[in-house]
Amino acid sequence: MKHKTGKVIMGATLSLAAIAVAIDHTQHKLPEVETITSDEQDMMDSGTPCGLGVAPCSLGEESDSLED
């Protein structure tokens, strides 16, 4: 069955139902997260995994120039 398009007509205000449907249709179960080993956790907790000093939530790479 073909899905109806979710395109919003610009200029028309959204209804409560349209918002609820849009959110509902994006609710999909996410894959499970693998269990981390204690050694890996210790490494991340220290903020230097593999001794490179990469923070656990950093971008983890060199900065990218705007000139690219």
Partner: protein, 227 residues
């Protein structure tokens, strides 16, 4: 910590290229575009996190998704999703996005905000973290409205990053308040030497706020949910 949603002074910074059209306010326009993104995701039976995971069936803790974090906002913003266990993370949180922007408009990146997601790919909270968590340059709250204006004026891109863009725009006042609350907390914790806070591993979160995307959209359109 709960941040106040009262940044009325910020409302003067609406980007000039995003003026209200066709009877929609600025926020309603952003909200419409976000709902449009969700409609497209719904048609593809996906959501923003699944798009970031790009088919991964198992998620490795701390692995960044996508591997090369997204660029968006005309290359002034970056984001990635990841999951990891930690004593201080809510149990219901599957993982979170980290958002970065350019520090002082240069080539270095600053962490701005993180957004927790539930097991079904819906945003549940916004939070700021200490500098040791993300590294990079410290992002000053005063820089936020400049960077959010850059984002608002930027070209739309891919579906996944457009969703992130419009969520950030719709929660910009909450994020601004969280950044101010973050800085106030740093000042309270380390009144004399605030830079000492940045390396203190006993301090992970600096401010946080629960969010509800459905309620935010309803509020923006002046709609009320049936009780």
């Amino acid at each position: 910590m709960t941040a106040l949603k009262t940044s009325t002074s910020l409302q003067t910074n609406i980007p000039s290229t995003m003026q209200p059209v066709a009877g929609l306010s600025q926020e309603q326009l952003w909200a419409s575009r976000l709902v449009d993104c969700m409609g497209q995701m719904g048609n593809q039976q996906t959501n923003s996190v699944l798009l970031a995971l790009d088919g991964s069936k198992k998620i490795k803790p701390y692995q960044r998704y996508p591997e090369t974090p997204y660029f968006f906002g005309d290359k002034h913003w970056r984001a990635f999703y990841h999951s990891h266990e930690a004593d201080n993370l809510p149990q219901a949180e599957h993982g979170h996005y980290h958002f970065f922007t350019r520090a002082n408009d240069g080539d270095e990146w600053s962490h701005v905000i993180a957004m927790g997601m539930d097991d079904y790919g819906q945003p549940t909270r916004l939070f700021t973290t200490n500098l040791w968590v993300t590294d990079g340059k410290w992002f000053f709250a005063s820089q936020f409205m400049t960077q959010i204006a850059v984002l608002a004026n930027s070209q739309d891109g891919a579906l996944a990053t457009d969703w992130l863009k419009y969520v950030l725009l719709l929660f910009q006042y909450e994020i601004s308040d969280l950044l101010i609350a973050r800085d106030n907390r740093v000042e309270r914790l380390f009144p004399r030497h605030q830079e000492q806070c940045f390396l203190d591993r006993s301090v992970y979160y600096l401010s946080e706020m629960k969010i509800n995307l459905n309620k935010q959209l309803l509020d923006i359109f002046g709609l009320q949910q049936d009780r």
